[in-house]
């Protein structure tokens, strides 16, 4: 994650990726989500400046980008930690003890759901959406990976191994 900055510019490599996405659709605006994913990967979150840059690439008014960024939960509008955790609180995970994992994460990370640890390392959230891994409940997503059949001890091991 980079720090909040006054300006944002796609790296030339990322700009090329964006151009490649644009070729896939009959309209430029359709490349909105892929281009935003690239932008977030580069910058860590979608700031006002990022929205402007995305609007330029897609040749759409900035408000079109803003509407999308504020609609989809996976786009961050503020800086987040180097690692992100999403703990599933939906039915299958709740039936198998996600409440207990939530309490453990809260205590372990010293910050309530939705917050970032004081060292800026981890942003975590207990989410209501099912992530499609109910067979492994309770589960969480840490960055790109799913972690299953969680217990407090297992959470500790995962945090130690993956976020050290």
């Amino acid at each position: 994650m980079s720090e909040a900055s006054e300006t944002f510019e796609f790296t030339s490599q990322n700009l090329e990726r964006c151009q490649d996405y644009l070729k896939r659709y009959p309209t430029k605006q359709a490349a909105m989500l892929p281009v935003l994913h690239v932008a977030q990967e580069q910058h860590g979150f979608i700031s006002k400046e990022v929205e402007t840059a995305v609007a330029e690439v897609l040749e759409v008014p900035e408000v079109e980008v803003h509407k999308v960024v504020t609609f989809y939960t996976l786009f961050h509008r503020h800086p987040v930690g180097r690692h992100q955790i999403r703990l599933c609180m939906n039915l299958a995970c709740w039936l198998r003890g996600s409440d207990c994992i939530k309490a453990h994460l809260e205590e372990k990370l010293g910050v309530a759901s939705g917050g970032t640890t004081s060292d800026g390392k981890i942003t975590w959230e207990a989410v209501s959406d099912c992530m499609g891994a109910c067979e492994d409940a309770p589960m969480m997503q840490l960055d790109k990976d799913y972690y299953d059949e969680l217990t407090p001890e297992k959470v500790d091991q995962i945090l130690e191994k993956e976020t050290a």
Partner: protein, 429 residues
């Protein structure tokens, strides 16, 4: 009835991710070869015969949907593969994309040949990063091997397949919300008609099909529509992947023949209820489906049988709850989800889901009022048939069914300020 491995044979088999392995060991792409010798009309008719129904939730007959694409609109035709898989309790498409991606690609080729599409978009939910990576690698290999591209499998047929990653919005699994999202907008569902088959992505005819639906197409073409129809039960062809979760000993994805008893799935295949407890309730088709009591769940897994039992087979997400489950809390968990995921476009859904959640939160805090239970029933009634898409109903059905079937628990918490189930458990045996 035994479990089937028509499309689940290669789950956990890393070799199957390779196109050549799929060709050599699974007669891979022979379905597509055969399809290229058939006319699009014959393929559609074969799929109609198969009784393949949409496996994303709505259960619409696939062949009939394909037949709705206008013959001479003069516009390009698109296939949109719905891999948003966000219905709570559903996790089957993830396995297909992760372990058997070439089966999906072959299904896409046949479908596009049948509907005369030259571009397919696979809309995958943003959280599925690893399934996306596996699927993208398979698509890249398919291009390298000449399976996709300007000359599909050496034929005079051009097909491009692109993955489009979502970004965390349940509503984008609704087919018109998906199309809006594909066009780079908020996933606000569209009024129907016109249906996507006539006016879909970019104003063009578009067929939207679930991943599993498409993954069944190669075997149907290889072995024939009648063979597939005979495998299932009346009006429900073939097999399907059922996702069993919650209080069972072996939560997992199980491929069953349509018509398999739900009890057999829960007790034999999924190993029964944990800790030897009694089953209290089952949600049979993803959290939008109406809850069934243990007695009501004694029925077969088919679209019609579940409908007759008062619920739906939906996305095949079977969520099992045992006797110690507080139904008020379970409903609050479900309602939190819908309140968060309502897209905000229609007032009954936007306001209704929030109101229901606030009422349930109040009940659970012990601040409820006896009239809250009827207010929720009234509200859920007003949320049905009053919005553009089905999310409003999907939020109302659990509320209505939980209250009607487990009313005493709701009345108890409203009157006493504490859960009836927790109360029972705190009494020493």
């Amino acid at each position: 009835m035994p479990l089937y491995t028509l499309i689940s044979k290669d789950f956990y088999n890393e070799d199957a991710r390779d196109a050549n392995w799929y060709k050599q060991n699974r007669q891979g792409f022979e379905g597509a070869e055969k399809a290229f010798e058939m006319s699009p009309e014959d393929i559609i008719s074969e799929v109609k015969t198969s009784n393949l129904r949409g496996l994303g939730g709505a259960g619409f007959p696939t062949g009939i949907k394909w037949g709705f694409v206008p013959k001479d609109s003069g516009k390009p035709i698109y296939l949109a593969v719905n891999a948003d898989e966000s219905e709570p309790g559903t996790f089957k498409d993830k396995y297909i994309m992760t372990w058997d991606p070439h089966r999906l690609i072959e299904g896409i080729i046949i479908t596009c040949w049948a509907i005369k599409a030259h571009v397919a978009y696979i809309y995958i939910r943003g959280e599925y990063v690893r399934p996306y990576e596996h699927l993208q690698r398979a698509i890249d290999q398919a291009y390298e091997e000449g399976i996709l591209g300007d000359k599909v499998m050496g034929r005079d047929f051009k097909l491009d397949v692109y993955i489009h990653r979502g970004a965390g919005a349940y509503i984008c699994g609704e087919e018109t919300g998906l199309l809006e999202s594909l066009e780079g907008k908020k996933g606000w569902p569209r009024l129907k008609p016109p249906f996507p088959a006539v006016v879909g992505a970019f104003g063009s005819p578009t067929v939207v099909n679930n991943v599993e639906t498409i993954a069944h197409v190669p075997e149907i073409i290889k072995q024939g529509g009648q063979w597939f129809a005979d495998l299932g039960c009346e009006k429900n062809g073939g097999t399907r992947l059922m996702c069993v979760s919650g209080h069972v000993n072996k939560p997992d994805v199980y491929e069953i023949q349509l018509g398999t008893p739900l009890y057999e799935l829960i007790y034999d295949h999924a190993g029964g209820i944990v800790d030897g407890k009694k089953m209290k309730a089952v949600i049979p088709g993803g959290s939008s489906a109406k809850v069934l009591t243990a007695e009501e769940a004694d029925c077969d897994c088919s679209i019609e049988a579940l409908q007759a039992a008062g619920s739906m087979l939906g996305s095949g997400g079977v969520m099992v709850m045992h006797e110690d489950t507080c139904m008020v809390k379970a409903l609050q968990v479900i309602t939190s989800f819908y309140a968060h995921e309502s897209c905000g476009q229609c007032t009954p859904c936007r306001e209704g889901t929030g109101w229901l959640l606030r009422t349930l939160n109040r009940l659970l805090r012990g601040d409820g009022h006896p009239s809250d239970v009827d207010t929720m029933l009234d509200l859920s009634g007003n949320m049905q048939g009053t919005s553009i898409c089905a999310l409003s109903e999907a939020a109302a059905w659990p509320v209505e069914s939980f209250i009607l079937k487990f009313r005493e628990e709701f009345d108890y918490i409203a009157r006493h300020g504490r859960s009836m189930v927790a109360e029972k458990q705190s009494v020493p045996a």
